[in-house]
């Protein structure tokens, strides 16, 4: 004797439901323990790398500016005199951050 389609539909749903594993706190704990901690690690690494970059840039910038100055006939000295070496370095970093923000925004990783 065979079942009707409706009856079998209910029976099949019941079979799948009966086979569904019960919620297991140990499974949840194992998943949470396996989660990578990149959530805070990545920003920390990026900030440290950025600070290091600013430090190197501010140490090297006067030399670079003076080298360029020889080419640009005094423009570098005028820029440093006007803005200061560190302000110039921060300006360059700000332009870089702005460009990165623009790229992330265009990729959809940032939303307003």
């Amino acid at each position: 004797m065979t079942r009707s389609d409706d009856l079998f539909e209910q029976e099949l749903l019941g079979r799948f439901e009966a086979m569904s594993p019960l919620p297991d706190d140990a499974f949840t704990a194992s998943v949470v323990a396996a989660l990578p901690r990149t959530g805070w690690l990545r920003p920390v690494i990026l900030v440290l790398a950025g600070m290091l970059g600013v430090l190197v840039a501010s140490l090297q910038l006067p030399e670079l500016v003076f080298a360029m100055d020889r080419i640009a006939a005094g423009l570098g000295v005028a820029a440093i005199d006007t803005m200061g070496a560190q302000a110039l370095a921060m300006g360059i970093v700000a332009v870089g951050l702005g460009a990165a923000t623009l790229v992330l925004f265009r990729r959809g990783n940032l939303t307003l």
Binding site: T2, A18, P21, P23, F27, L35, P36, T38
Partner: protein, 180 residues
């Protein structure tokens, strides 16, 4: 009152809130583990795949746009993991091997002995696409449209796979009862 999936996801995205993600895991683990258990024919490493699914969901959670249900999004990741891993290892052969084994005691809520074995053995008679569509719709409770999105098959194809798969399962169970 418990938070919605979307609220928990927002907490995870905003502050990498592991507790909020744990709540999502608790809420959806039965569906994901059940889905992978049926897709793999009850393979012992189905829970490992489920864990990988949740870890990948954690990494990619900022890509969840809330356009469909969070459960459907998770099932999509789970199905991708299944395809990457177990299908390469001839999962159909695993299904047959599993069907030949005695069911091991587990934390499933089934009361009747051999029920899991019966279901996995019955699913093993279906074609790969048929089985995947049936399992997505019945084990994970997804709509045909969600199953179509996840498998990448046209909606009409999913509907016919589910319909044909259900008919073949009915025949299989009817034959088993007649023989008993």
């Amino acid at each position: 009152m418990s938070e919605t999936d979307e609220a928990l996801v927002a907490r995870v995205v905003a502050g990498s809130d592991r507790r909020a993600f744990g709540a999502l895991v608790s809420r959806h683990q039965s569906v994901v583990r059940g889905l992978l258990a049926r897709l793999t024919g009850g393979a012992p490493d189905a829970d490992d795949l489920a864990q990988e699914t949740f870890v990948q969901a954690w990494r990619r959670i900022d890509t969840y746009r809330g356009q469909g249900s969070f459960r459907s999004w998770l099932c999509q990741i789970a199905y991708s993991r299944f395809l990457m891993g177990l299908r390469k290892q001839k999962s159909h052969q695993r299904l047959l091997d599993t069907a030949a084994r005695e069911p091991e005691p587990s934390s499933v809520s089934a009361g009747q002995p051999g029920a899991r074995l019966d279901l996995d053995r019955a699913l093993a008679v279906l074609g790969d696409d048929e089985r995947d569509c049936v399992v997505l719709c019945y084990a994970a409770g997804l709509s045909h449209a969600d199953a179509a999105t996840i498998t990448g098959l046209p909606l009409g194809t999913v509907k016919s796979h589910v319909s044909r798969g259900r008919a073949r399962l009915k025949d299989w169970f009817d034959r088993q009862e007649s023989a008993a």
